[in-house]
C-alpha cells in the first residue's frame, strides 16, 4: 500500500498533466487548422473579389463553378515544389525566418475569443498580448530579408521593420481608447461592456435587449476616430495596400520573400492572411461589439446554439473587415516610403494621442458625445 499511494499520486499527476498537455495540443491543432482553412477561404475571397473589381471572372474550374478548391490546389502545388535555398544565403536563418514570421500571427490567435465560450486561452491582458505578439513577425521578416542575400529582399525587410515599428504606436494608442472606456484589457470584458444592458440587470427572459453603451466605435467621436486610426494602422501592420511597401511587386519584386519558394513561401502567405484575420478580429471585438449583431441591440443567448450564432456573427464581421482590406488593396496605388512615414508620424500618432487625451477627459467628466448636446 505504501508504495502504491505515491504511484497512484504519480499516475494521477501524469494523467491530469497529460490531459492538460493534450488539451493544449488540441487547441494548438485547432488553431492551426483554423488558420489553414481561413487562409484558404481568404485567398479564395481575395481572388474572387479582385476578379470582380477587375472585370475578370476569377477561379472557376477547381471545386465547382466558384473555384472554391482553387486555393487547395495551389497549396498542394506549393507543398510539392522544390525547397530552394539560395547558395550564398545564410541557411539557418533562411530556414528559420518563415516559422518566426508565422509565429506572431499564430500566437495572436490563442488570445482571440471567438464567442463568450470559445477561445484557446482567456488572456486577461488580451489586447496587450495581441499587440505585443504580432510584433514578433517583423523579426522573421528581417531575418528573411537579411539571410536571402538579395539586395531587394534586404530593402523589403528594412522597409518592413521601419513601417511596422512606426505603425505599432498609433495602433496601440488607438487600442488604448476602448481599453480606457471599458476599463479592461480583456477582450471578452470589452465585448461584455459593449453589450451591457441598459438598466444594469438583465432578465433572463428576453432574447433581445437594449444596451446603452453600444458598440465602442459609436460610443463617442473619439472612439470612432480610434477605430479609423486603428484600421489604417492595422493595414500597415499586415503589409496590405496602400502600405504594401515591404513586398512592393513593382519596385522590390516581392521584397523580403523574393527568394522563397514552396512551403516556406506559403508560410509567409499564411502569416499575411493570418494577420489580416487577427487585426480584423481585434477591430471587430474591440470596436464593433464582437459577437453582438447590432449596435445598441444585443442578443441574450447561451448554450451551444447561442455560441454558434455568436460565432457566425463574429466571423461575418471579421470577414467583412477583411473584405474591406481586399477592397482597398485592389483600388488604391501604393504610397512611397516617406509618405508612409509621414502618414504614421505626422497624422496617425498625433491624432490618436489627441483622441486618447480627449477620451480620458470625456470619461473623467462623464461626457459621451458632444458636451451640451447629449
Amino acid at each position: 500500500m505504501d508504495s502504491l499511494v505515491p504511484w497512484l499520486k504519480g499516475a494521477w499527476a501524469w494523467a491530469t498533466g497529460s490531459a492538460f498537455a493534450f488539451s493544449m495540443v488540441l487547441s494548438v491543432l485547432a488553431v492551426v487548422a483554423f488558420i489553414s482553412v481561413w487562409a484558404m477561404f481568404a485567398v479564395w475571397l481575395e481572388r474572387k473579389a479582385s476578379a470582380d473589381f477587375q472585370v475578370r471572372i476569377g477561379p472557376n474550374r477547381v471545386g465547382g463553378r466558384f473555384g472554391l478548391l482553387q486555393t487547395l490546389a495551389d497549396g498542394l502545388k506549393l507543398a510539392f515544389k522544390e525547397d530552394l535555398i539560395p547558395k550564398d544565403s545564410d541557411r539557418f536563418l533562411f530556414a528559420l525566418a518563415p516559422a518566426i514570421a508565422f509565429c506572431g500571427a499564430f500566437a495572436a490567435f490563442a488570445a482571440l475569443p471567438f464567442t463568450p465560450a470559445l477561445s484557446a486561452v482567456d488572456v486577461n491582458l488580451g489586447v496587450f498580448f495581441v499587440v505585443a505578439v504580432t510584433a514578433i513577425g517583423v523579426i522573421g521578416v528581417l531575418m528573411a530579408g537579411w539571410s536571402s542575400n538579395n539586395k531587394w529582399s534586404l530593402y523589403g525587410a528594412m522597409r518592413e521593420a521601419a513601417q511596422l515599428v512606426s505603425y505599432e504606436i498609433p495602433s496601440a494608442l488607438a487600442l488604448m481608447i476602448p481599453v480606457l472606456v471599458a476599463g479592461s484589457f480583456n477582450m471578452k470584458e470589452i465585448v461584455a461592456f459593449q453589450c451591457q444592458p441598459t438598466d444594469g440587470a438583465l432578465d433572463n427572459e428576453s432574447l433581445v435587449y437594449w444596451s446603452s453603451k453600444g458598440w465602442l466605435a459609436f460610443y463617442s467621436p473619439w472612439t470612432f476616430i480610434a477605430f479609423v486610426v486603428y484600421y489604417i494602422a492595422s493595414l500597415a501592420e499586415c503589409k496590405r495596400a496602400p502600405f504594401d511597401l515591404p513586398e512592393a511587386e513593382s519596385e522590390l519584386v516581392s521584397g523580403f520573400h523574393t527568394e522563397y519558394s514552396g512551403m516556406r513561401f506559403s508560410f509567409f502567405f499564411l502569416e499575411e492572411y493570418g494577420m489580416m484575420f487577427v487585426v480584423s478580429a481585434v477591430a471587430a471585438l474591440v470596436f464593433l461589439g464582437g459577437w453582438q449583431p447590432l449596435p445598441w441591440i444585443s442578443l441574450n443567448m447561451g448554450g451551444l446554439l447561442g455560441n454558434l450564432v455568436f460565432l457566425g456573427v463574429f466571423l461575418a464581421k471579421t470577414t467583412f473587415l477583411v473584405w474591406v482590406q481586399i477592397w482597398l488593396r485592389w483600388t488604391l496605388p501604393r504610397l512611397r516610403v516617406d509618405q508612409v512615414m509621414v502618414m504614421g508620424y505626422k497624422y496617425l500618432i498625433p491624432v490618436s494621442l489627441f483622441a486618447l487625451l480627449m477620451m480620458a477627459a470625456y470619461e473623467h467628466w462623464g461626457v459621451r458625445y458632444l458636451p451640451g448636446l447629449f
Partner: protein, 406 residues
C-alpha cells in the same frame, strides 16, 4: 556572410582618451562617432517588372535615395537596321512591326512613308484615310497600355485591367481588319493591305462612343486618386529646356509644356484636314513636366485620337483604290535616292531614313526611335529621387525596349 552591408558605424576614436598630452599635441575629441552610410549598387532589371522590358538600370542608392543611375541597353538588339539592308523594302515592312510592338501600325506607316517618299509613290486617298484610322486606333491602344502599366508601376493593379478591356476591343478591331493582334503588317508600301471589312466602321464608331465614357471612369479610378497624385505630382520634373536638350519628343516633350506634334507641325497623311488639339502639360497637380503631366497628356491624347478616328471615318470616300497603281509588289524597286520621314508615334518622333541605290533592297535604313532618345534623360532625372520614384519616372517615360535596342 557574403553580404554587401548597406551601412556601417565606425568609431574613429577607438583609443582611450589620453590624460597626459605631449607639448603641442591636440586633445582628440572625447567622442567622435562617424556614421557613414555606404553607397549600394543595385541592378534594376533586365528582369524587373517595372523596367517595361529588358532594360537594365544600374542604380546607386544611399538608403532609399538614388544617387546615380545608368541605363544599360542592348538586351533586345536584333540588328534591325542591318536587316533593312539585306531584305527587300517590301519584306522589311513586317520587321518594323517588331520594333515598337505596341504601336506596330505606326512603325509600318513610318517606314512606308519613307520608302514612298524616296520611290515617289502616290498613295490613293481612301488608303490614306484607312491608314489614319488604323494608326490612331493603334495610338489609343498604345497609350492605354502606357497608362495601365503606369498604374501597375505605382501599385494600383485594377486600372490595368480596365485599360486592357478597352485595348482588347481595339485589338479585336485591328485583328478584324488585318488578321493580327500585335504585329499587323497592314500598312504596305503604296497603300494598305486590304479594304475595311463590312461592318468595321460601325463597330469602330460603337467602340468610340463607349470608350470616351470609359476614359472618365478611368480618370475617377486612377488619375485623380490622391495617392496617385501624391506619387506622381512634382516627381521627375523635366523642364522644357531639358526636354529639348535631351531630344525628347511625343508626350514626354508635350508633358513639359511644349506644344510640338508632328501631325500638326509637318502634316502627313490627311492630318491637315482634321481638327484636333495638341494637349500639353500645364502642371495642374504640381509642376509643369512632372510625371503626372506626362500621364495626363496621354489621357488627353486618347480623346484627341478618338476625335481624329471619327473624322477620318466621316470623311472617308465610300469607294476607291487602296493601293497605288505603280507599286508592283513582287518586284518593287525604289528609285535611287534618299529620304527621311518622321511621324508622330505614340512615343514621339519616329523617323526612318532610307537610302536606295535603285535596287529591291534599301542601301541603308536608319531608324530614329523615340524611346531611345527619351530613355537618355533617365540618367539626368533619376538622381536625387527615391527608389519608388525611379519606378514612377521610368513608367512615365513610357519606353518600349524593342524600339530602344532595335
Amino acid at each position: 556572410m557574403a553580404h554587401s552591408v548597406s551601412s556601417t558605424v565606425s568609431s574613429s576614436s577607438a583609443a582611450p582618451a589620453k590624460t597626459l598630452l605631449l607639448p603641442g599635441e591636440q586633445r582628440p575629441p572625447d567622442v567622435h562617432i562617424d556614421v557613414r552610410t555606404q553607397e549600394l549598387q543595385i541592378n534594376m532589371g533586365p528582369q524587373h517588372p517595372s523596367t517595361h522590358g529588358v532594360l537594365r538600370v544600374a542604380i546607386w542608392v544611399d538608403g532609399e535615395i538614388v544617387t546615380r543611375a545608368e541605363p544599360d541597353i542592348g538586351y533586345l538588339h536584333r540588328c534591325a537596321e542591318k536587316i533593312g539592308e539585306s531584305v527587300s523594302c517590301i519584306q522589311y515592312v513586317p520587321y518594323t512591326d517588331r520594333y515598337d510592338y505596341l504601336a506596330a501600325m505606326n512603325n509600318n506607316l513610318g517606314y512606308c512613308l519613307a520608302v514612298e517618299k524616296v520611290a515617289e509613290v502616290e498613295v490613293p486617298e481612301k488608303a490614306q484615310y484607312i491608314r489614319v484610322a488604323a494608326v490612331e486606333l493603334n495610338r489609343i491602344a498604345s497609350h492605354l497600355m502606357a497608362v495601365g502599366t503606369y498604374g501597375l508601376d505605382l501599385g494600383a493593379f485594377t486600372p490595368f485591367f480596365y485599360a486592357f478591356r478597352e485595348r482588347e476591343e481595339i485589338l479585336r478591331l485591328l485583328e478584324w481588319i488585318c488578321g493580327a493582334r500585335l504585329t499587323y503588317n497592314f500598312i504596305r508600301i503604296g497603300g494598305v493591305m486590304r479594304d475595311m471589312p463590312a461592318g468595321w466602321v460601325e463597330d469602330v464608331r460603337k467602340f468610340l462612343d463607349v470608350f470616351e465614357q470609359r476614359l472618365d471612369e478611368f480618370n475617377d479610378l486612377l488619375t485623380h486618386n490622391h495617392i496617385f497624385v501624391a506619387r506622381t505630382a512634382n516627381v521627375g520634373v523635366i523642364s522644357p529646356e531639358m526636354a529639348l536638350q535631351y531630344g525628347l519628343t511625343g508626350p514626354n516633350l508635350r508633358g513639359s509644356g511644349l506644344r510640338y506634334d508632328l501631325r500638326r507641325e509637318q502634316p502627313y497623311l490627311m492630318y491637315d484636314r482634321f481638327t484636333f488639339d495638341v494637349p500639353v502639360g500645364t502642371g495642374i497637380k504640381g509642376t509643369v513636366g512632372d510625371c503626372w503631366d506626362r500621364y495626363w497628356v496621354r489621357m488627353l491624347e486618347m480623346k484627341e485620337s478618338a476625335r481624329i478616328v471619327r473624322q477620318a471615318l466621316d470623311q472617308m470616300p465610300a469607294t476607291g483604290e487602296i493601293m497605288a497603281k505603280n507599286v508592283r509588289h513582287l518586284a518593287f524597286k525604289s528609285k535611287a535616292g534618299e529620304g527621311y520621314f518622321g511621324i508622330e508615334n505614340p512615343r514621339g518622333e519616329l523617323g526612318y531614313y532610307v537610302i536606295s541605290d535603285g535596287g529591291a533592297n534599301s542601301y541603308r535604313s536608319r531608324i530614329r526611335a523615340p524611346s531611345f532618345c527619351n530613355l537618355s534623360i533617365l540618367e539626368a532625372i533619376l538622381p536625387g529621387t527615391m527608389l519608388a520614384d525611379a519606378v514612377a519616372i521610368i513608367g512615365s517615360i513610357d519606353i518600349v525596349l524593342g524600339e530602344v535596342d532595335r
